[in-house]
């Protein structure tokens, strides 16, 4: 026994805080007792409160223990969870007073634990989703496991339960090999040791003094009993997974743990929860197999798709590993078993690092809230916290990086372990990709899932069991009260929407002894205020109790973050004001009474779009805009973006034809009666269609290729013997920033089409590229075309959004040239270099020629056409050469002078040193 030792720098026991946490026996004992107490209390709580309102049991077992704490600590600090595990803690004392028998050979089998974990837990999990996740299920499961463990501890010695029976025993042993900690001993002290206190103290009958030389901590659970027995025990920081880089005695069960856990967690999840929630789920092999067997076997309450996804995941994973390693072994000309169990350790990072990412993501999105509120619930406080992050927060994606780290790490371990094999170098190089088969398989499954979801899209309802996709309004059928009778009792009497789906916003009223149920206050308002029906006894669903209450006395939370029903502003009702205030605190929104809520609901019948939509008259000038004219200020103001940015989707553009009426107000068009043409990037002309909506009509067109797309609106109307030819044009360039795009001058130049008699073209300047934009101060040349010929004397007006306008007549080549005005003067620190200056070109031309248009005579034609475009501030507006040069020159001067001065100061004046040779 050693009482004092000089500890190395990387020894955690020598660190002040970490050393205390891992070495102080009193602290460790207290910690173990606290964890045990929590464990027992949560079990009791699970039996006492079996309902869903028991959030504590769930939070402790599925919020903290697994997966957060375990997954995060395993590949970092190692098996510290085992060190504080209540089973192990109790087991130590039970074994002490137990029978101390030797475990029979057939039970000394690590596959028992592995089998329990993979089939008993994950198999059941996929077959009966949600079974263990209830408080009662959780409590029962852990009570059964606790009883089994106590019996085993009592009968057998050396904590055999942990080694062979515990479902996560082999798992933790296997994954802790990645950790950066290492329990070892100081060799100098151990060499002289004859008493072996560390080995006697170890409840597992291990020999800590051999860990270093064996390069394996075997079954050590970091209980730290040995470190209190002898000071020569060290607990060191090492390179992560360093032990995997050199030789040690391999354990087959560990390699199988890596493979089977990879199959049952990430791979099955990718199959069942990832791809399974895409629109292509039905075509996947596990779904089709499940369908096939459904015809022969009754599955009862088993989820056959989950079961087959699980089985296929195991089949694919195991075969990927075995086949790859088999080929590698053949190439290496070595025994398959040697190769497989040696190189199999490279699978270690694959599951666990991805799981860290998932656990942390879950923690930030839900876990934190669940844990804090669950503990609050367990100990009788009423705590209410908000989640640390929302699904889709961009910073959460940083955790995705871990998956890539896992793959690279696995490849590195494989490389290092490959080096240890005794084989020809060339053979090793060829065998490497085959040995990496499972790593490549894991990567491919991840890629494939991304591909499937990108290509086929997520099925609606989305990530159901994770709660984000399900609508807030929806409740399960048995909780909803349907007041109507008859065949359509489940539908809103006005709009026919599913009442259960939107249950939390349901309203109801009496009309002549019948009850009418509405999906929302919107439909109620339509009958009550617009149709003026004599409704009485108005009721609304209380979001808390899900029962119908009197609407007049309910408290409405209006404008919360929760989704609205048939409106842009959500309205949820509560019986108690307290609940309403609580809800509004959490989700924003105001607490109002029924009349106020109804008033707000009425606003939905009077949208700006409805007010704006008008018919066009003959003399109106129509132009296109890519901003929704009906959008409220601030919302949708960024306008004009292109839809379909994601891969594999053809981008499309949506524009609104609008006009300004006699009183100077902007109107959109309620019904487009003109012709719509689209000139696409390949110079083909097709007809475009207007949207089907009721209010502001829009025109959308798809842009599959790079190049200019021109949309035309052409309409002719005769009024006072004059034919008004109204044309509007919208030109948009699509460019996908591909390096392969070729700028074809012919296709990219401006074209007019014969279907449009009067047209204006922006003449392309020399050297335009796909990156072309108009900038302030530049010239823009406009060419007016009448029946495919340039026309002189057409008047072209350029007007900017700020009100500046200028009119020019076209010259004999039909050209009018404008200089784009510098028209953007923000404060310098608010300058936006991508500020869009919208402008509109309007050309008019009167043709004195009589004729007939659609069998109606006219005496002259008045042509108008419009062309909206945009220009950006010139870089001279925000950048300065003078200051740039100044900055460079000042730096040069200053540093030059500084160096000169420094050299001057350090210069040693020449001194002649004479030695008197006589001395």
């Amino acid at each position: 026994m050693v009482n004092f030792i000089k500890r190395d720098n990387n020894d955690i026991y020598s660190k002040p805080i970490m050393g205390f946490l891992f070495k102080n026996q009193k602290f460790l004992l207290t910690l173990k007792i606290v964890v045990l107490a929590l464990f027992l209390y949560a079990l009791y709580f699970g039996f006492a409160h079996t309902g869903k309102d028991n959030t504590f049991t769930y939070a402790l077992f599925w919020g903290i223990f697994w997966s957060l704490f375990m997954v995060v600590t395993l590949p970092t600090f190692g098996r510290i969870f085992c060190g504080i595990c209540p089973h192990g803690f109790m087991g130590k004392y039970i074994t002490k007073y137990g029978l101390q028998k030797k475990m029979p050979k057939w039970m000394q089998n690590r596959y028992i634990g592995l089998f329990l974990l993979v089939l008993g837990w994950w198999g059941i999990y996929y077959m009966f989703p949600g079974l263990y996740r209830t408080p009662l299920g959780t409590a029962t499961l852990f009570t059964v496991m606790t009883l089994i463990s106590f019996v085993v501890y009592f009968v057998y010695r050396d904590m055999s339960y942990c080694k062979y029976i515990c479902p996560i025993g082999t798992l933790t042993r296997a994954y802790s090999k990645l950790s950066f900690t290492w329990l070892g001993t100081y060799k100098s002290a151990c060499n002289e040791c004859k008493t072996f206190e560390c080995a006697t103290a170890c409840p597992y009958n291990l020999k800590p003094f051999t860990f270093d030389s064996r390069n394996s901590m075997t079954d050590c659970t970091l209980c730290m009993d040995c470190s209190s027995a002898c000071e020569a025990v060290s607990f060191k920081y090492k390179k992560p997974s360093f032990s995997l880089f050199s030789k040690f005695q391999t354990l087959k069960a560990e390699v199988w743990a890596y493979i089977l856990i990879l199959a049952s967690i990430p791979i099955t999840m990718a199959f069942h929860h990832g791809i399974g929630r895409s629109n292509a789920a039905g075509d996947m092999i596990w779904s089709t197999t499940a369908e096939f067997f459904k015809g022969y076997i009754s599955f009862g309450s088993i989820d056959p798709i989950g079961l087959f996804a699980f089985l296929y995941a195991i089949l694919f994973t195991v075969s990927a590993a075995v086949v790859g390693m088999f080929i590698a072994a053949k190439i290496l000309n070595k025994n398959f078993k040697d190769v497989f169990y040696n190189l199999g350790y490279s699978y270690a990072p694959l599951f666990i690092l991805g799981s860290i990412a998932h656990s942390l993501e879950t923690f930030f999105m839900r876990g934190y809230k669940q844990i804090v509120e669950g503990f609050g619930h367990g100990f009788g406080f009423d705590i209410d916290v908000t989640s640390l992050a929302q699904r889709g927060d961009s910073w959460l994606h940083i955790f995705d990086l871990l998956k890539w780290v896992a793959i690279i790490w696995a490849l590195i371990i494989l490389y290092k372990r490959m080096k240890l094999l005794d084989a020809d170098k060339m053979r090793k190089i060829i065998a490497y990709p085959f040995a990496a088969s499972l790593i490549i398989f894991f990567l491919s499954v991840n890629m494939y899932r991304g591909y499937i979801i990108d290509t086929y899209g997520r099925a609606s309802g989305g990530h159901g069991s994770h709660g984000a996709g399900a609508m807030f309004q929806s409740v399960s059928k048995d909780k909803a009260t349907l007041l109507q009778s008859g065949k359509d009792k489940g539908s809103c009497i006005v709009c026919g929407m599913n009442l259960v789906k939107f249950y939390k916003t349901n309203h109801a009223a009496h009309l002549n002894d019948t009850t009418r149920q509405y999906c929302s206050i919107h439909c109620l308002a339509e009958e009550k205020n617009l149709k003026k029906m004599p409704l009485s006894d108005l009721k609304v669903v209380d979001v808390k109790s899900l029962k119908f209450i009197d609407a007049k006395s309910a408290f409405y939370v209006v404008g919360s973050k929760k989704k609205p029903t048939m409106s842009e502003v959500s309205k949820y009702a509560f019986t108690n004001e307290k609940d309403a205030i609580k809800f509004s605190k959490r989700n924003k929104g105001k607490v109002l009474n029924f009349d106020e809520a109804l008033k707000i609901a009425m606003k939905d019948f009077d949208t700006p779009a409805k007010r704006m939509a008008k018919e066009v008259s003959a003399t109106d000038i129509v132009y296109f805009t890519d901003k929704n004219p009906a959008a409220r200020r601030g919302k949708g103001g960024h306008g004009g973006h292109i839809h379909g940015g994601s891969r594999g989707e053809i981008p499309s553009k949506k524009v609104w034809p609008v006009f300004i009426n006699n009183s100077g107000r902007l109107n959109c068009i309620s019904n487009i009666r003109s012709e719509l043409f689209l000139l696409d990037a390949n110079l083909e002309v097709t007809k475009a269609k207007q949207s089907r909506g009721r209010d502001c009509k829009t025109v959308s067109f798809r842009m599959p290729d790079n190049g200019y797309y021109n949309l035309y609106y052409v309409d002719g109307n005769i009024q006072d013997d004059t034919l008004y030819m109204t044309t509007a044009k919208y030109e948009h360039m699509r460019f996908n920033h591909s390096n392969d795009a070729i700028y074809d001058n012919e296709n990219m130049s401006a074209h007019s089409i014969k279907e449009v008699p009067f047209d204006i073209l922006r003449v392309r300047e020399k050297g335009e590229t796909f990156y072309h934009r108009l900038y302030a101060g530049e010239k823009v040349r406009i060419k007016a075309i009448l029946n495919s010929e340039p026309i002189e004397g057409a008047s072209v007006t350029l007007s900017t959004k700020t009100g500046w306008s200028k009119t020019i007549k076209t010259d004999k080549d039909g050209i009018a040239t404008f200089v784009l005005l510098k028209d953007y003067f923000p404060e310098w620190n608010k300058f936006d270099r991508r500020h869009k200056n919208n402008f509109l070109l309007t050309a008019t031309y009167t043709q004195n020629s009589a004729g007939e248009y659609l069998y109606e005579p006219y005496k002259k034609i008045k042509h108008t056409t419009t062309y909206p475009s945009v220009y950006y501030p010139n870089d001279s507006a925000y950048s300065s050469y003078a200051y740039g040069l100044l900055a460079a020159i000042i730096t040069m001067l200053l540093s030059g002078v500084a160096i000169y001065w420094y050299r001057k100061r350090n210069q040693q004046p020449f001194k002649e040193v004479r030695f008197d040779e006589k001395d």
Binding site: G450, D832, L885
Partner: protein, 326 residues
């Protein structure tokens, strides 16, 4: 065979280097005029802002790739990052850090400025060893900027002007386009505060570049993040600079000729791989070594350029006039 080897070992490496540098300078700066495009994963500062670039510095595309939204970046788009990186690696492992000493246009410019200084008869400066040790870390900080700033943009933490934050402050952006008559990069951008700070820093560094490389050989290379990036992967390279410490007499000639002031080249007699993160693999040290086979440049473990007594003597005669000015 021996004849060829002797010929190489006695070659005038500085002349060879001068012409090779000129060749690469023209290739990278004016390649566009000859429709040469070696892609955009080149491991030297052949600046992408030069519109006639013959092969683009890897950092510009790397930063653009990393600036994509994180969910895009870490999904299938990571393949394109990987391909770009592998291309970079393939280029790099061929020549190792000789890219710096022989191909980098910005390095070549500094050598030319050094040549000008020599002609003017002005002394050069050096860092003291403590200065050297603390300043050499800057290149890793800049490498962190190259990688983290665009990721910050992808995360939505930083504004769009940080997308190419390193390029904004890199003197190469200002200077390289000058050779094709493009002065547009010499302006200060006032559009946002960070753009203003970054472009100001860029122009200040440009000023420092001229002054610094005038008084200190290869001034900028000392801070170059590309050099840091090279060093991370230099073990995988085919060309190696090796030293046989047993034969070294620690005369210090190699240290004296080293443009980068690497002390290990003379001091370290333990390591065989003597390539350090600041090394530009100009091979001046091999040429200056007066002992047989102490320093040698290997391609795939085959020595191609070795220090020899004969070579040393020959070069001494040639360099005599040059030595006086240095």
């Amino acid at each position: 065979m021996k004849k060829i080897r002797d010929f190489i070992n006695r070659a005038d490496i500085s002349k060879f280097r001068f012409w090779l540098q000129l060749f690469f300078f023209i290739l990278f700066v004016y390649g566009g005029y000859f429709s040469i495009n070696l892609g955009n994963s080149i491991p030297v500062f052949s600046c992408g802002y030069d519109r006639e670039v013959g092969g683009m510095c890897y950092f510009l595309p790397l930063q653009h790739q990393l600036a994509r939204p994180l969910d895009v970046l870490l999904s299938a788009a990571s393949i394109s990052v990987l391909i770009g990186f592998l291309t970079f690696l393939l280029w790099f492992i061929v020549f190792n850090k000789a890219w710096c000493g022989y191909a980098c246009p910005l390095g070549t410019m500094q050598d030319w400025i050094t040549g000008l200084r020599k002609r003017m008869g002005i002394n050069y400066s050096t860092y003291t060893q403590p200065q050297f040790n603390s300043l050499k870390k800057i290149k890793y900080l800049l490498l962190a900027l190259v990688i983290l700033a665009p990721i910050g943009v992808g995360l939505g933490i930083l504004g769009g002007e940080w997308r190419t934050a390193f390029c904004e402050i890199c003197p190469g952006r200002m200077i390289t386009p000058l050779f094709v008559g493009d002065t547009s990069q010499w302006s200060l951008d006032f559009s946002t505060k960070s753009a203003m700070v970054l472009t100001t820093l860029g122009l200040m560094f440009t000023g420092l570049f001229f002054v610094g490389s005038f008084v200190k050989k290869r001034f900028f290379c000392f801070f170059c993040p590309m050099s840091a990036m090279h060093y991370i992967f230099s073990d995988a390279a085919l060309i190696k600079l090796r030293k046989d410490g047993d034969k070294c007499t620690k005369c210090g000639d190699c240290y004296n000729v080293c443009d980068m002031q690497i002390k290990d080249i003379a001091d370290d007699v333990q390591s065989t791989n003597i390539l350090r993160d600041d090394c530009i693999l100009c091979m001046k040290c091999v040429a200056a070594c007066p002992e047989d086979d102490v320093l040698h440049v290997d391609i795939l473990n085959m020595p191609v350029f070795t220090s020899t007594k004969g070579g040393f003597v020959k070069r001494m005669q040639m360099d005599d006039w040059e030595k006086k000015d240095d």
